[in-house]
Each structure stands twice: as C-alpha cells, then as structure tokens.
Symmetry: C2
Subunit: 569 residues, 2 copies
C-alpha cells in the first residue's frame, strides 16, 4: 500500500526501529523458503498494570500509520548489509527492498477499550517474514500508549469527573516522543489538556499553560512597561495606567490583610502587571515564587482587582510547592473575604490550580470532599508511571500455515495461548456478579478435567461478565444461550448465559487496505470513559480490585491442554 | 545560524515540543519590551538518581542539534496564533518567525562527565525570550539521556568490566525515540551493544541479536530446507547435508546425556538447522522454547557438533527464563563434558547469554565470582529506570541583564543558586579523603557565619576532592593555593588546597556558532569510564554511598545569603 500524507506528522516509528534479531530471523526464514508462510501473531499483556484489574487499549492509530508507511529505504538495506554476514545472498536484500505491508491484516481492540490479560490488543496476520519484522515497532507503539492511558484513567478515577486534570510531564519523558506519546494518550485516558504544544499541533490535544517562576524572577521591580495603559474590557472608554491602578489596590488589599505595603515583592508585582498587560482577558497568578501569603497572594489580588475595575476577570492562580490542599483552603478563604469586602463576587470562584510531584495518594487528598483545588497539574507521575514504568506487552506467534503454535515454557508466568483466536465480551444484568469459580493457584490435581461442580448460570443483562477467548473458527457465543467456559487460573469450568455478546477485535487493515477510518482521539477518549463506566466498581478499585475474568472456550482449553502435553495441534 | 545536514537523522526535538507557558511568557516578555534582555539559565538536578552519589552528563549532542536547527515554521506560528488571544499583535508573530539561536551561547559538561547536584549540566545564555523557549526541549533532551547513562553506568559497575552487557529495551521504552535515546545513552554509560538497529544506523551503537522463540515455534519439524547442503568453513570441499549430519550427531549426544533420541523437540531442531544454514559462521542457540535440558541443549549440541565437523564454531547460546545462573553452570558443565568426550575443545567456552527481567540485584548474582554467564541482556530495567524513572532536572533563570536572580521558595528542596557561575573540580592526592565538614540538617543556628572551627587543608594530588561553584567573574581556583569554600548542606566552611583544578563547563556554542566538534559517542563512552575510575570507591557505592561534595565559593555563598534575606543582589 502506498504511503499517505500524514496529518499527524511523520510516522513516529520506522522499520529499523526494531531489534536486530528480527532481521537475522528474517534471513533464516527466507533461507528456509518460509518468508511468505502465512502467520498470525498476537500482541497482549500478561498482567494488568499498577496492581489494578483493567487496562485501556491505545496506540492503534500509531500502529496503523506505521504499517501504512512501512518500507525499507536503500540506506536501511545498506545498513543491514553491513551487519549481516558478508556472504549473505543479494537476493535476500532484494526481498527486503520490496517489502511492504500490502499482505498484512490487522485486527485490534478499538482505542479506549478495556483490555485484560491475554486478550489480544492486536492480531497481526500476513507473510511470516514481514509480520515478524513488525514485532518490536508494534510493541513499542502499543505498550507505552496503553500504559499511559491506563495510568491517566486511574488518576481520573481518583480525581472524579469535576477536577480539571492537566498533563505537564514532557520534560520528564523519555525524550521527545516519549513526551508526545504521553500527552496524546493521557488525554485519551481522561486528562483534560496538556502543556505540550506539539501534542496540540499534531494530535489536537487541548493545550494549557500560563507562566513559570522564571517569568516572575526575571523582573526585579525596576522595569517600566513600554505601555502600561489598558482599555476597559467592554470596549471604548478611557485607557487606564494599570501599573498605577495596581499600586492603589495593593494598599487597600494589604490594609485588609494586615500586611505592610512593602512586604509583597515588587518584582513579582511588576511581573504580574506585565503578564496582565499581555493577557488582560486571561490573567493568571503563580503565587509561590517568594511567599504565597505575604507576596504572591496580595500581589495577585491587587492586579486582579485593578483588572476587575476595567471589567476583566482573572482566570486562575497556581501553587507549585508546600501543602497544596491547605494553601488552597486558605487562598479560597482570602478570595471570599476580599470578594465580599470589595464587592467583586466573581473573585470567590477564581480557579485554584496546583502542581508539584502529585501522585495517586496526593491526588486523592486534593480531590477529597470540600477541597478548594480546581485544577491539578501532573507531570512525572503521569508520564513515567513510576509504579510500573512498562506494561510488558508481548507479541507471540500463535499460528503458522494455519497450524496453532505455542511456546512450552517451564515458566508459568510466560505461558501463552495458541491458535488464531476470536474474543468476545459477555454482558449480564446490572448488579449481577460475574461467575465465581473456585480459584486454584496450582492446577496440579486433575488440572484439565472439567469439574463443573458449581456451575453458575447468568441470564441477566447490562454489566460486564467476562471476556471469552476462542478459536477463530468457532461460532460466536449467542446472547441468551448457555456457554461453558474455562476461566484462566481456575480449576473448574463454569457456564454463563450472556444477555449480550460483543465481539472485541475489529478489522482495521485487510491486506494492507484500511477498512474503516480510525476514530478521532476525542472519540477514543469518550469510549474510554464509557468503557470504564460499564466496569463494575469492584473491578475499578485501584488497590486490590476484584479480578476481571478472561475465560477460554472448551475447544481452546482443549487445544492448550493437548499442546501442553506435547501433542500435535 | 543555518540548519545543517544531520548525519544522525532528523533532530529529535522541534521548537513546539515545549510547554505552552513558554509561549505565553514569551508574549509577556515581548509586550514588556524585554524579549532581548540578556539572560542566563542553568540546567541542573538536585539529587543524584537511584540513591547513588553520582550521575553522568549526557544529551549534549541532541541539545546542540536542536539549537542548530531551531526555527519556528509557518505552521508552528499559525498553531500558536490559534491558542493565543485573538487580539495578539501580529508583530509578536513576526518576532517568533524570525527567531533562531544565533544569539545563544551554550556551556556544558562534556558528555560522559561526572555530574553532581547543583552543578550545571548546561548553561544557556542569550536573549531572554528565546532562551526561555528552550527550557522544555533541553530538559527533555538532557534529563532522560543523563538518567539512562547513569543507570547503565551503575549496571556496568555491578557487572564488572568483563561481562558483555547488551541493551534490549526498545519495546519497553516510551515510544520510538525513548527507545533510541535509551540505546544511545546506555551505550555511552558503559553497555557494549544494543539490539536496536536504528541506534546502530543513526548513532553508530554496535548492534547485536540472534533469534527469538517465535523463530523456533514457527517450525513444526515437518519443514524441509530448500537446500540443506553446506560447504566446509575452510573453503573447497564436498558439501554436506547438514540436516542429516545433525540427526547423526543427535544420537551420539543423546546417548551421552542419557536422553531418548525422540525427547528433543523436532521442530526446535529443524529451526536450529535453518538458522545454522543461514548463519553457519554465527550459529546461536536459544535453548528454552520447550525444555532446556531435554530439548534445547541436546538440539543445540547436535547442530553445533555437526557444524564443528565442517569447521564452524557455534558462537553462543541464550536463556530467557528460569534460574539463569544455575542453568548457566549446568550448561557449562555439559559443554565441558561434551567437549572432552567428542574432543571439540572450543565448545567448552561457547558464550552463554542470559536475559529475563534482570535488575541490579539479579545482575550482581549473575556477575558473581565463578559465574558461567558471559553475556547479559537487559531491557526493561535499563530503559525504564524503575528505581527512579525521572532525573528531575530543572532549568532556572540565574541572571538577567547581568543581575543575579533567585527564586526564594519556602520549600528548601527547591532552592537554587543565583548568578552566572563557573564550576571547577578540585583534585587532591590519591588516597586522600575529601574534607569532612560537620553536616547539619538544619542551618537554624548561626547559619551564615563562617565558623571555620575545624578547617581541613589538602595538599595532595590525584583523586577527586570536591566541585566548587563560584561566580563567573571570580578568578579560578589555583592548584596548590588554599581556598575557603562552603560545602552545600554543611554549617561550616572548610579550606582545601587542590593539587589540580579542572574547569568543568566547556564552551560549545557561542552566539550560535559551534566552537569545537562534539566528541563521538564512543569517545564520550570512554570518558564516562575514565571519569568513574577517578571517583573514590566510596562515592561509587550504589547503596548508601559517601556523598560527593559540591561547595560554594565565599562570594557565591555570600550572594545566596544576601538574596535569601531579601537583600538586593
């Protein structure tokens, strides 16, 4: 398929953004005459991140862009020739030069979908050699995107729907597009905006930002604005010397707050005036450069009241150090007093923004009932995902030439599910608990016998029950019909009767052709919030949640058992 | 300055890879007539990462590339116009369109230098507006690069000089150039190679890689190689059917190991043969797809011995699960037995490579005396730096219009040092301990009085004593001359008499012109190892190390005290 113009900028990944062993294996496949064997790979994770019970799927848009532009350039092939054995056949390099993804088919969870362990985020089918080469770029594009979206969703769950969440972690990211990815997918996961302009320009993420301490400290107080005159907000009317007006208001504010008029830092005030002259409609105060109570707050109030006199309303203040919750309460108290005293009611509700290494615990504190914090900026703790900085996705060969394949590891953590699969989400009724088979940490006793001792049957509709993985050729589960499945990790099967059945994997790219337009980022963001709202509260818990079940069909379970025992597929 | 061709590929960062508040501040500066005020910013970190006592400076090459290509494109300016107030003066956008870094001067620690808290990694001087705009991209380019280089250096210290360390974390990185940055700077920090081909192509990092489990599982055992014939390594001679030869060797190996000849997985063996036919000079076995002892190892041995008969020597085996150290010991034992029994001495020392979520603790185990592991692949734990996924660098305005500036935070963690500074590393004699002032967690008592009660004087040469920060205008410390300094965090001054003095910050870019070529990545890597070797062992400890001292000159300390007390600069 031909490369297309890219409204979101250059594709972030390119074919050589990959591990060398894919090329050595490619030579092995090619030499063995297997380059075009039809193969299926699945990309999935083994455990939900952060100790939670869910993840959000993300990164698909980047994968599709990557597939559509996948071509090795001459310089790429020359580089590969320099690292492969000197006697490598030239025909192999010709094969590489001609490669593209025109034979590749991609199924995937839509971005913003809930994802659970073992359920494929991507299914990639096509000629063995090329789909093998896609492994690392696809992992690179999906893993972090899904991790950051999930992290953002957790933070949104903690913050509740009302607080405005701002991502500002670009400088803490793993280089330039670590930051771009973080900004894009934290928005998908539920943040409101980002400080990252490139995410705004390329991805349409709303951007936000005001001023930093350096702006304040750059003013000593001796600077004279070239033009201190400001016209009223309402239009024609005499222009007013804002700086002089601010000085007059400062006296009144200080008198009311019991401060000496020389206590507030002059340089800070001159900086605020400079910012107000540039942004009279959007004046904003950063309060903690010198002292919040003795300088930042009175200076802000003097400027805000002077602007107010001209009909402008200040749009916010920000704190970046100290006890953020307590200071917000104190500041709101001062806003109320001043608003009442000077009869400027809008001042009461000027938004208070906070930042400073806010993590899940601090966010919970800031979002508690009665908190006066309105906007919360998070950098390091959204971008770096310090509780778990990698999702650990894997990309496994599940079938080649139509035959299921399985790595028989001695490490149970690394088990995988063979065969090309379909995946369905089963829904029951509201308030109905999902089936609860007896859990067994080891399957040493009669591990593969379907005990069926306590089958539970579900006949209701609404909430998510479980996800079912089955072989691609099996008929899909039917609403209202009983289905026997094997929950992963359980030693018993159970039966479910779903009220609704949703297929999970959508066909996005078929033989290199895009089948349907990808949803916009904002649509995916809405899907994420909708998806989370359908998950039961116990599955949404961020600590020690109830685990959401992923179950295998009887046929898939039988295949796993047969291959585990060393049998033929 | 003009953009130049970029042998390392497109600049990773671009001007809009930045936070919106830099643009709002830019408008503020411009409106206040201050866009061209000369300003100095410093980029530094406040605490060494990972609980250690050192960091390595890195990222400079990316910063220089960024500065040299810094230009806002029309599309960038249009985007900015869309997010700034609609009444913003067109002249401001003209100013942005004309911006470049021709007025910017950059001093920095060379890449691979030791870096300590508060010592600038970068000093950026130039017109206030433009150097403010550089903040976030420079932080983004330096922080992670320095973090990953430091992480890699720690892992190298643990592994010792002999083990081969391979970075393979691309798939765990924060998107595409998180991976490229990680591969580049883990090499700088002391790794030997990376799996990341793009790092090889763009940055000259040595690349390494062989095969993955998917290659093995893609073979069921029924596949027939198009051409199983292999010529001897030495040149002319009859070609041999490698597959048949392997089957013959398998019988002998299994008999010797007490295994049934049908136990080793046939598909795995056919995969090994396919790989051997593609890479006879570089045959490599991945042993743990099915069972190391009962399948992977005997299959590897059969192929290695068959190749050996033709004069080829296998180059390695890899394990990716289970107890890596113990298996390596067992495998080496088998290698030795087989080597003796079949009289193939080279087999004894075939390198054993291991991988599987190796962290500092596991690395120490694998590197212990007597370990048979030769090559160690690390992915997640080098790339994500899970012990501390962000270095937390900051970029602070230290001077404007020649006047020192300082944010007077109420949070002691966020303190900064004002004024444009010079930095020196003082060296004493080998075996001489650095000065040991009495440490005080609080400076509440007589905090600014130089007590000088127990000055220690140093007169020897060789090892690193401490770093000194002083005002740029002060004369540099002189070797052999006594100097009184204020170690940070200490309540007393002390005196040192350095045997040598090294200036730390080099001038790389002056008024937009590159002053000297940047060292190559390999040169910076060598500097990193040299720098670490000069650090005393107690400062190299990875847990609870002795802290390396950074001290202030008396003049700088006096300036800090004066500004902290609210005085004029």
């Amino acid at each position: 398929m031909a490369a297309e113009p890219e409204p979101e900028g250059r594709a972030a990944a390119r074919p050589l953004l990959s591990d060398l062993y894919h090329i050595t294996m490619a030579l092995g496949y090619w030499r063995a005459g297997r380059a075009r064997d039809p193969a299926d790979f699945e990309l999935f994770f083994r455990r939900c991140p952060f100790g939670g019970a869910f993840a959000l799927a993300a990164g698909l848009r980047d994968c599709v862009r990557f597939l559509r532009s996948f071509r090795l350039r001459d310089a790429d092939v020359q580089f590969l020739a320099s690292v492969l054995p000197p006697d490598t056949e030239p025909a192999f390099f010709d094969h590489l030069r001609a490669l593209d993804c025109s034979g590749v088919t991609l199924r995937a969870l839509p971005e913003g979908s809930l994802a659970f362990p073992g359920v494929p985020l991507l299914q990639v089918s096509g000629p063995l050699l090329v789909v093998q080469l896609l492994e690392t770029p696809l992992l690179c594009l999906v893993s972090y995107a899904s991790l950051i979206a999930t992290n953002a969703a957790r933070l949104r769950l903690i913050a509740g729907p009302e607080k405005r969440l701002l991502e500002m972690g670009l400088r803490r990211a793993q280089g330039p597009d670590g930051g771009l990815t973080a900004s894009t997918y934290s928005y998908l996961g539920g943040f409101d905006a980002s400080s990252n302009m490139l995410a705004g320009q390329l991805r349409g993420v709303p951007v936000a930002g005001t001023l930093a301490h350096s702006f304040i400290t750059s003013f000593s107080g001796t600077e004279v604005p070239p033009d201190p005159m400001l016209a009223p907000a309402a239009g024609p009317g005499p222009r007013v010397d804002l700086a002089a007006c601010v000085e007059a208001w400062l006296e009144r504010v200080c008198a009311h707050l019991g401060l000496g008029v020389h206590e507030p830092h002059r340089g800070e005030r001159v900086a605020f005036v400079a910012y107000a002259l540039a942004f009279p409609q959007a004046f904003y105060g950063l309060l903690d450069t010198y002292s919040v109570q003795r300088s930042g707050l009175p200076n802000f109030l003097a400027v805000a009241l002077a602007l107010g006199q001209l009909g402008y309303q200040a749009v916010g203040v920000r704190l970046d150090s100290g006890d953020l919750l307590q200071q917000a309460q104190e500041i709101r108290g001062v806003f109320r007093t001043i608003a009442a005293h000077f009869q400027v009611p809008w001042l009461e509700s000027v938004p208070i923004a906070v930042s400073n290494n806010i993590d899940e615990e601090e966010l919970a504190r800031l979002a508690q009932e009665g908190s006066e914090v309105n906007v919360i900026g998070i950098g390091t703790n959204v971008v770096t995902c310090p509780r778990q900085p990698s999702l650990g996705c894997v990309y496994k060969l599940v079938s080649v030439g139509g035959q299921p394949r399985m790595k028989l590891t001695e490490d149970p953590e690394k088990q995988m599910l063979p065969g090309s699969k379909a995946a369905f989400r089963l829904l029951g009724s509201d308030g109905e608990a999902p089936p609860t088979p007896r859990w067994s940490p080891s399957r040493s006793q009669a591990p593969h016998v379907i005990l069926g001792a306590h089958p539970t049957t579900h006949t209701h509709t609404g909430s998510l029950l479980l996800d079912v993985l089955q072989l691609a050729e099996e008929p899909p589960p039917q609403a209202g019909q009983e289905l026997r499945v094997w929950p992963r990790g359980a030693r018993e099967s159970c039966t479910v009767r779903p009220a609704h059945v949703e297929p999970l994997l959508r066909l996005w790219v078929q033989q290199g052709q895009l089948c349907e337009p990808l949803p916009s980022l904002a649509e995916s963001r809405a899907l994420a919030q909708l998806s989370l709202s359908r998950l039961s509260p116990a599955h949404r818990w961020l600590e020690q949640p109830a685990l959401y079940q992923v179950a295998l069909s009887e046929k898939l379970q039988a295949l796993v058992d047969r291959l585990s025992a060393g049998g033929a597929p």
